[in-house]
Structures are given as C-alpha cells and as structure tokens.
C-alpha cells in the first residue's frame, strides 16, 4: 500500500484512530457481554471481525506492532477456544481493548507503543489452555515418526527394549519455553534412549506446548512419569507403549510398507492444507487493507468537526445579519408606513428567517449525537470498579437516544466517568451491608438522559448508602469552608451542596465515611464551563442522584436581554424563572445582603452594579427583578430595564478579554451592540461563597 502524499497519509491515520476507537468500544461491550454469557458465539464473531479490521487498518497505517498483536488475538478468538476457556476469553478481550487503547494513544503521540505483555500472556494462556484444553494438547499427540525413526523403534523392540510414546505438555505458565523444552528433553534423556523427538532437539522451541518422544527404556511407566514430570516445566504427561509393541513379530517389510503409506497420506493431507491456509491468509491481508476504503464507502460521512463548526459560525453570522435586516425593516416601516414595499420586505424576511431557522437546526443536528455514545463507556467502568471492590453492581441505562452536541458530549465524558466511578466505589455498599439494610444484594446504578426545554438532563443515580450530611458539614467547618455559626442556618440542599466546594473534596475522611467527594468541585466547574449545572439529591440509606444539566448546543442560546447602568446583558432564558417588579422600599437588609419577598419566599437580591446599592435611591423607585432559578436555587437580579428576548449567537471570548468568571460569552446584536452573557451557574456559586448563605432560600 502506498501513500500518494503525507497529507493523505495523515488524514488516513486520523480516520484510522477514530474508527479504531469505535472498534475498541465495541470490544469492550462484547467483552462484557461475553463475561455474562461466555457461550455467545455471535459476540465473539463480532469481536473477531472487529479485531480483523483493526489488524488490517493498523497495518495499512504502518502500525506494525498493533497489527501483529491484533493478528495474534484474532487467532485465539475462535468459538472452540472460547468454550474451552470459560470466562477467560472475556478477560482477554477486555485486556486487549485496554492494550490497544494504550497503543493507539502512543501512536497518536508518535511514541513507542507499549508491548502489551499482559495481553500476550493472556493470549498465550488461552492458546495453551488453562484447564480443559490440557487434555486436548496431549490428545493432539500423533506420534508420527519418520520412516527412519520407525526403523529405530522396531529395532529397539527387537532387541528387547520397551518403547514408549511419550507426550509431555509444557506448563503454559512458563515464560521460558525454550529452557523448559531443554529441561524436558534432558529428563527424557535420563529416562531412556530417545529414538524420536518432536520438536527436534535444537529446533526453535519458542512456542512449544507439546513434546512428543519415542523412548526406549527398561524402566516402568510410573518411573518414567515421575522422571519426566519436571516441576514447573511439564504440566502433564502421557506414557504409552508404542502400538508396534503389540505385534512385535510383524515383518519389517509390512511395517515399512505401512509407514510409507502413512507418510504418503500425511503428505497428501498436509500439502493442500498448508497451501490453502496460506491462500486464506493472503485473502485476509488483502481484505483488511481494503478495510478503510470500505468504511468510507458506507452511507455515512466522516467529517472533521472543524468543518461543521465553520458552517455553524457562518450560520451565526447569518443570524446576526437577519437581525440587522429586521432593524432596517423596522426603521423603514416607521418612515414609510404606507409604502406597499414594506409588506414585501416583511414577507421576504419571514421567509428568510424560516429557512435560516431550518438551516441552523440542520447544522446543529449534524453535531448532535445520541447520548448512547457517552453511556457506552460506563458498563466497563462499573464492571471494573465492582470487580476491584468485590461488589455486585448492575448498570441500567435509559434515554440513550437523547441527542446532544458532540462537543458537549465529549466534555461530559470525564465528569460522568467520575460520578459513575464514585457511585460504584463509594455509593453502593457491599452486598452484605445492603442485605443487612434490607436492600437487594445487587446495587444498581442508573443512567438516564432526557430533554428538558433546550437543556439536556443526564442523571446518575445509585441506590447506595446516600450522603452523610452531618459528616459533610462537619468537615466543611473543619476545613474553614463555612463557619460553625452558619451551620444551623443550612438547609438540607445547601448542606449537600458543600460537597462541591473545592478543598472539601480532597478530604480523605469525608471520602471514606460519607462516601463521596474526590474532585466533585472539578466536576462542577467542568459543567459550568459547558454553561451547564449540576444538582444533587441524596437520601441516607436510599441513594444519591446527580443531575447534570447542559445546554443542547453551545453555539447559540435563547436569551433574555436587559440593561443595567446603560450596559446590555443577557441571561439564558432557560434559567429565568419569572420577572417581577418591586420598589426600593420592598428591599430589606439581612446581614450583608439585600433581600426581598416574593410571595412566600425570601430571595437574595443581586445587583450587577453594587456601587449603586448603597441606599441612595428613593424608596418608591420601581425596579425590575429577574428571578433566576437554577438547580433549586432562586435569586433576584435587579435590572434597570428589560430589552426582550432574542436568539444570541455566542461568540467565545478570549480569556484575556474577560476577567470575570461571571461572564460566559458575548454576542453581537443586529445593530452591532455587544451583549455580555451572564454565566448563571457561576453567579449562583459566587453567591453561595459569600457568607450569608442562609439568606438564600
């Protein structure tokens, strides 16, 4: 296979990495399935096909080591071996997925790939057969001696010696097969005179499992057994008198004729088999190099995400253009209210905006992938943790078909893995503890995804022991995250929220006792980067639910625009609970906070311009308050005037442009005005960091 250019080669490699990751995912799933049902031949075939593709593709990309390892693996993925190996085959497949993953990572970074010793061991063990296969290895012994050897055997018998056909199975655990072979050979030598030996002495003994010998000796069968059962080298032995012994008086000529016939039949038998297996091998290679081309020919397109982003950006520009047009038309209408052209303009605009909406949706759809892609990773994680901790944990998944932006999905992978691992590791109790608590022995982790407005909600639920509120609070006080005076003011949800506080998370004691914590602040902040948020519910003894909410897309949001101090801001409409009007007189001070009463609730009031909040305004002045509700928290945002609702195309702000984490991005309106989009979750967490936590109800 030749690459016309480096660029094409690089592109092909990129394609390879992508398809390889999918293959590995498939292997993980099949491995888990096989663990449940070792006899599932169809799964095995799938893995085998996948490994075969991987072998061919990696060879085509010049990744020889990976290709060779895949080749070795492919050889052992046969239904026969799978049945004989019991659960081992699943273990091999899972190990292989890990090994290949590491190798791919190394290739991607242009590093030397790991050798995959563990996988090789596994494969070897599978080949050698750990249990049931042992008998077969010995049964494989054919004792097909050459004519000359047969003559020697007959000669020995004639001289009154006993000749044994001996089969030795080398211990598959030995890592030094050549040395093992040498020792076994020496043992045979000591036991008698070796008339014939397979493999022959001096031949490469790298992959020997079975040694066959014809041994002339006067010793007993038992003695030979004892002598040849070399510890840590020979695992099994069979000692039989040569069949020739039964007819010692047979004419030499007969034997010669017979052996010749056997040799001929053996020749006939081996000849075509060899050539056909070669042909098959060649066929394999040819087929596999064509693998990549085949993948491209399917009815799906692999497109670089950057290209879609470029289209998305252009759509964004068009939306801004539309809003410019809208303004121009509005102005035109004001000036020429009677002009019939304005109707035509309005029609044209209506048409354009409808198509534009469709276009935007279509482009967004391209970026959408089902959450299943994310969920697929977790069965493996749960299984690994469950094994490590000797727990019994089941994973239930719902809402896999919920679509989500690929970029968001990818960014969710780590936080989700974290939560799932936590749930399995700390949330779910051990079977005994569960049974003592009257729960089923098997713990369950549930993943669920669904759309909620223009947000996607993903839940990670476990039916474990739940969070220990008191421990969290105590720890938070110890760590100085809150002061002890504030503790009585904490409600249930606020206490649990403390688990997301940075610093608390790393505390070992909390991790062990309450069961959670490592780096949950990281989970939270990564969600905030995604303009998402995280909620948590926990009932002691019943379990914990983490609810992750992320926007459908990062490209645009439906936003509420408002002005504060002459400046234009926006908040995502999804986070707006309601809008109300109060007078300055309704505002009260509790400790350092301004609060106001909304129906039965007391809400904290936040002003974006705190300079103005020093009570200088007259009491009767009416102000708008946007009630932001997010993750069970509500607070009021005091604004000067509301500007309406608009679809905003988010322009990412470069880091050096924004110094406040409270602003998540900006957008440009049709008239060229710049709008800052508030990062609502960050505002909420900023609030919760200010001391008067209790005031937020």
């Amino acid at each position: 296979m030749t690459f016309p250019s480096d660029e094409q080669a690089a592109e092909l490699r990129e394609l390879f990495f992508e398809s390889a990751e999918e293959i590995l995912q498939g292997m993980n799933e099949a491995g888990l399935a096989l663990e449940e049902r070792p006899g599932d031949i169809e799964q095995l075939r799938q893995v085998r096909r996948a490994v075969h593709t991987l072998k061919g593709d990696s060879a085509a990309c010049g990744y020889r080591q990976l290709s060779e390892l895949a080749h070795d693996l492919e050889d052992v993925l046969t239904p026969e071996l799978a049945q004989q190996s019991g659960g081992l085959i699943a273990e091999v497949i899972l190990t292989a997925a890990d090994t290949f993953h590491e190798m791919l990572a190394a290739y991607r970074n242009k590093l030397q790939p790991p050798a995959g010793a563990a996988l090789r061991d596994h494969i070897q063990r599978l080949l050698n057969g750990p249990t049931d296969r042992e008998a077969d290895v010995l049964a494989d012994a054919t004792f097909e001696w050459t004519e000359y050897e047969r003559l020697m055997i007959v000669e020995s018998i004639r001289r009154g010696e006993t000749v044994f056909n001996i089969a030795l199975q080398l211990d598959p655990e030995t890592l030094l097969p050549a040395a093992a072979f040498e020792l076994a050979r020496k043992a045979l030598e000591k036991a008698g005179r070796i008339l014939a030996l397979r493999p022959e002495a001096g031949a490469s003994a790298e992959n020997v499992q079975l040694i066959q010998a014809a041994l002339a000796t006067n010793q007993s069968t038992d003695w030979i057994r004892k002598q040849c059962l070399v510890p840590s080298v020979v695992k099994k032995i069979s000692v039989d008198r040569t069949p020739l012994l039964e007819t010692p008086a047979r004419d030499l000529l007969d034997i010669l004729v017979e052996s010749e016939a056997q040799a001929v039949s053996a020749g006939v038998k081996t000849g075509p088999i060899d050539s056909s297996s070669n042909a098959e091998e060649e066929g394999h290679e040819a087929g596999s190099t064509a693998g990549l081309a085949h993948a491209a020919a399917e009815n799906t397109l692999r497109v670089d995400a950057g290209r879609i982003d470029a289209v998305m950006n252009l759509v964004g520009e068009l939306i801004i253009g539309k809003s410019m047009l809208q303004r121009a038309i509005n102005e035109f209408e004001r000036r020429h209210a009677k002009d019939p052209v304005r109707m035509k303009l309005a029609d044209a605009l209506g048409f354009q905006s409808r198509v534009l909406g469709e276009l935007q949706k279509s482009v967004m759809k391209i970026r959408m992938v089902p959450v299943e892609q994310l969920f697929r990773r977790f069965p493996r994680i749960v299984r690994d943790v469950a094994r490590l901790r000797s727990k019994d944990i089941g994973l239930e998944v719902a809402g896999q078909s919920t679509d989500l932006d690929k970029g968001i999905l990818d960014a969710l992978a780590d936080p989700m893995a974290h939560l799932v691992r936590n749930a399995a590791d700390h949330g779910i109790e051990e079977s005994a503890e569960r049974q003592a608590a009257g729960k089923p022995a098997r713990g369950t982790i549930r993943l669920n995804a669904y759309h909620d407005g223009d947000q996607v909600v993903i839940e990670v639920t476990d039916d474990g022991r739940g969070l220990n509120r008191d421990k969290i609070v105590r720890r938070a006080v110890e760590q100085g995250i809150i002061t002890s005076e504030k503790v009585p003011q904490l409600n249930e949800s606020e206490a649990l929220q403390l688990i997301f506080a940075p610093g608390l998370s790393t505390a070992d004691e909390v991790t062990e006792i309450s069961g959670r914590g490592v780096g949950l602040d990281v989970v939270k902040s990564s969600l905030e980067t995604l303009k998402g948020s995280i909620e948590l519910e926990s009932t002691p003894g019943k379990g914990t639910t983490f609810r992750l909410m992320v926007p459908l897309t990062l490209a645009s949001i439906q936003a509420l625009l408002f002005r504060v101090n002459g400046r234009l801001y926006a908040v995502p409409i999804a986070s707006v609970g309601e809008i109300t009007r109060i007078t300055e007189g309704d505002i009260h001070r509790v400790e350092d906070h301004e609060v106001f009463q909304l129906r039965q609730q007391v809400l904290t009031l936040v002003r974006l311009d705190r300079l103005e909040a020093d009570g200088s305004a007259e009491k009767s002045k009416r102000i708008f308050v946007i009630v932001i509700s997010l993750g069970g928290r509500r607070f009021g945002l005091a604004v000067d005037s509301l500007m309406g609702e608009e679809e905003l195309v988010i322009k990412a702000l470069e880091d050096q442009l924004v110094t406040s984490p409270l602003v998540s991005g900006a957008s440009i309106l049709g008239d060229g005005t710049v709008v800052l989009i508030l990062n609502v979750p960050a505002v909420v967490s900023h609030l919760s960091r200010i001391p008067a936590l209790g005031a937020i109800a």
Partner: protein, 144 residues
C-alpha cells in the same frame, strides 16, 4: 512463610544449600525459603568465582545460582563447577528475559531453573525433583 514437609538427604541429614546471588536481599530471601524446606544454608556467594571456591569447600547438595552476576556470570560458574564435580546439582535462578542464558546453563550442566520472583512452592517442587533425581536407581528398583 508456609511450612513445607521437610526434605532431607538419604542419610537423614538436612539438605545443604549454596546460595549464589549478587543481591544480599535475594540471598536472604532464598535462604529463608530453603530453611522453610528444612534445609540448611551451607554457604553463600556474591559472584561466580566465590561460588566455585565455596562449592569446593562446602560440597552442598544444591546450588541455587543467579544467572547474572558481576565478575563471573552464572553460566561460567555452572560450567566450572560441573566440570570439577559432575554430581553437582545446580538450579539456576533467573528473571524472565535471560532465556538464552538459561538454555546455555542447562546445556552446561545445570539441573533445573526457577524464575524470579521465586515462588516457594515452585522451588520446593524443583528441589524435590532435583534431589530425587540422584536417588533414581533406588526408586526405580523399589518401583519394580
């Protein structure tokens, strides 16, 4: 450490070992192991040269010989010892990856090999096998 059924020589004396390894730690751990087999450490050596003189001095029943050592490698030491004392029972001790050296040592007269890290059960079986080896004719006549 697990206790094994003690091995002794035919004259009821404890089996005597010469332990050759350049690592003190490895020697100590092997010594503990053979003691748990009821054996006795007759001597220790940190290199091949010392091993040869120690062998001549102590005449052990078993030599446990590391394969890679400074000054004189295990292979050469085996060769020299077996040349002078054909009855010597040398068991090579080696990490994986020295297969060719092990092979050479076996061809030079070593009786067996054991892989590092040494598992007591494996070593016990090997020693029993190697020792039994010498008593072969007796066992054979008994068996008949």
């Amino acid at each position: 450490m697990k206790q094994f059924e003690p091995l002794s020589r035919k004259d009821q004396q404890p089996v005597r070992y010469l332990i050759v390894d350049d690592s003190v730690f490895a020697r100590k751990s092997l010594a503990k192991m053979v003691e748990s087999f009821g054996g006795q450490v007759a001597g220790e050596a940190g290199d091949g040269c010392t091993a040869i003189t120690e062998y001549a001095r102590t005449k052990p029943d078993i030599v446990l010989m590391d394969i890679t050592m400074p000054q004189m490698e295990g292979i050469e030491a085996v060769e020299r010892i077996v040349q002078e004392h054909p009855e010597a029972r040398v068991v090579m001790v080696s990490s994986v990856g020295y297969q060719d050296n092990i092979l050479a040592a076996l061809q030079k007269g070593a009786r067996h090999f054991v892989q590092k890290p040494v598992k007591p059960d494996a070593l016990y079986e090997i020693i029993r096998y190697v020792l039994n080896d010498d008593a072969v004719p007796v066992g054979a006549t008994e068996a008949k």
